[in-house]
């Protein structure tokens, strides 16, 4: 057989065709001006509130409650609680999500528990955990973990399920072990979806922590609930605003972490 040149064909170096590739090097800017919107809005809101607290006429009691030290201590405590809850949620739901995608029989049971955790009123959940255990930091963390498990569990399952079966087929076909397929292919590809679930859990935690006030959680919930109970509207408003801003900022940070963790090829 002589050279296999087909007359209808151009030389190999020019061969191309089919789907158009995305343009050029394809790398979009990692940060854009959009990333500044949330911090800016939060900074303005917090700045305005601090200005108000410093200049408005507050009752003596409110003034003694709303010192910089107390607020910042509460905020730090609030952040600690939120991170503890989110960390526990991740540790609990990612392995379960992986297990569910391997052993499909587990799915209804796992989702039942996760759904129940979210369906039970969070204030009831907090009370139940406190009843059977004790009050303080960890009972709050545990009960809010139960509450926030669902988004991460569901996203882990969805994130793993949505991966193109052909990619997994190719991975197995070339001789990757099941663990290799999971860690080298499936999990990296599921990162954006799992991370989105984690952000939801984080925001849920920040917003629900004030309920832990009833069992001595600490955090900004103390300020908020005192403000409500004692009709100290300025205190209540300030605490609610700080909780909201905290949720926005942590979600924003989560978004950046998500981007860093997402492999460049699918960003």
């Amino acid at each position: 057989m002589s050279t296999m040149v087909d007359p209808s064909v151009s030389p190999p170096t020019q061969i191309d065709g089919g789907r158009r590739p995305t343009t050029g090097s394809g790398r979009r800017h990692f940060f854009t001006w959009r990333d500044l919107v949330i911090p800016l809005v939060v900074a303005i809101a917090v700045g305005a509130e601090v200005y108000y607290l410093n200049t408005a006429k507050l009752s003596q009691i409110v003034e003694s409650q709303m010192t910089f030290d107390r607020i910042s201590d509460s905020t730090i405590e609030h952040v600690k609680l939120a991170f503890a809850v989110t960390a526990l949620v991740l540790v609990a739901s990612i392995p379960v999500g992986i297990a569910v995608t391997r052993v499909r029989l587990l799915e209804p049971f796992a989702l039942l528990i996760a759904n129940a955790g979210q369906a039970v009123p969070s204030i009831g959940l907090v009370a139940i955990v406190a009843l059977v255990w004790e009050i303080g930091f960890w009972p709050v963390v545990i009960s809010l973990t139960l509450f926030a498990v669902l988004p991460v569990l569901r996203n882990t399952i969805v994130g793993l399920d949505q991966i193109d079966p052909d990619i997994k087929d190719a991975a197995r076909g070339m001789g990757m072990s099941p663990a290799g397929v999971l860690f080298r292919v499936e999990l990296p590809l599921a990162v954006p979806v799992i991370a989105a679930g984690a952000r939801t859990a984080l925001v849920l935690a920040v917003a629900t922590i004030p309920i832990g006030y009833f069992i001595g959680a600490g955090g900004l919930g103390d300020q908020l609930m005192q403000g409500i109970k004692l009709s100290r509207n300025q205190q209540m408003f300030a605490a609610a605003l700080f909780v909201a801003c905290l949720a926005l900022i942590l979600d924003w940070l989560g978004g950046i972490v998500e981007r860093v963790l997402t492999p460049a090829g699918i960003r």
Binding site: M1, S2, T3, M4, V5, D6, P7, S8, V9, S10, P12, T13, I15, D16, G17, G18, R19, R20, P21, T22, S25, G26, D164, D166, I167, D169, A170, A171, R172, G173, M174, G175, M176, S177, G180, V185, P188, L189, P263, A264, G265, I266
Partner: protein
């Protein structure tokens, strides 16, 4: 090979599938390097191998190494799929409808490019396709499978075209078996009439093109002769009357010509 476990066995078979299945989160270099990494080659050897393979499939290594699959066209992606399958130099390749998902023009290009590649590689390739014309074009031997994966006929393309084993195979061959067999006959110096005077507008085909390409060129341009070129220079010609004279014998000659070159066993269903 039978002593190996499933996972190790797979690492010794180059595997190309229709949907390509490149890893979208990894660069082209990392995609190609996957099996060598599983086999724990050292970095330098892997890196050299990646460059070698990219050059082999006609993609500039410096340009393509760091790209991601989504930045490539479908045809380029399938070539990376082939390069990835070849990475650890497996003795056997399994290609499952590798060109099924690309448009007809790209498919034709990839087919001829791959035939050229196979000239260098000389690997045993099991090539699965539902496209009988592709089977004729790519295969040295074709196994036609009937329902239940029973082999209906296992023979060279020429034999299948000329004497299908039964109605099922004949149905697979479809209409115009003689016309299809023209595609099997590659032009060699022995086939050629002396060069004709170069007239403007005469169709040209390169040496090694098939008789079908020659006929196609004649039909397209309305001439009854086609100039055969070797390295761009005229080395002979083929006339329509020669083709008619050979007629049904073309396939038989083609069969003889190909029997000597059957280094790759290709199956098709």
């Amino acid at each position: 090979m039978l002593g190996l476990n499933e996972v190790e066995l797979r690492r010794r078979i180059g595997y190309v599938i229709q949907q390509i299945g490149l890893f979208p989160h990894l660069t082209i270099a990392a995609n190609i390097a996957m099996v060598p990494r599983l086999l724990k080659w050292d970095r330098k050897r892997i890196s050299e191998r990646v460059d070698e393979l990219l050059a082999l499939v006609g993609l500039e290594p410096a340009d393509f190494r760091g790209r991601y699959p989504r930045q490539l066209s479908g045809g380029q992606q399938q070539r990376i799929g082939v390069a990835r399958a070849l990475a650890a130099d497996p003795p056997l390749m399994l290609m499952d409808e590798p060109f099924g998902a690309v448009d007809p023009i790209t498919r034709e290009r990839l087919q001829s490019e791959f035939l050229g590649l196979q000239e260098q590689l000389k690997k045993t390739i099991v090539f699965v396709t539902h496209d009988f014309d592709e089977a004729i074009r790519m295969g040295d031997r074709i196994a036609v499978l009937r329902v239940g994966s029973h082999i209906a006929q296992f023979a060279t393309p020429e034999e299948i075209l000329q004497s299908p084993a039964d109605d099922f195979v004949a149905g697979f061959v479809g209409e115009a078996a003689t016309l299809k067999s023209l595609a099997l006959h590659r032009l060699t110096m022995n086939d050629l009439a002396p060069p004709v005077d170069a007239r403007a507008g005469l169709p040209e085909v390169p040496l090694g093109a098939s008789l079908r390409d020659a006929v196609d060129a004649m039909l397209e341009t309305g001439h009854d002769v086609v100039v055969v070129t070797d390295d761009g220079r005229s080395c002979g010609s083929v006339r329509m009357s020669d083709v008619l004279a050979k007629g049904g014998k073309a396939a038989a000659n083609g069969a003889a010509a190909r029997a000597g070159s059957g280094e790759a066993g290709e199956l098709s269903s």
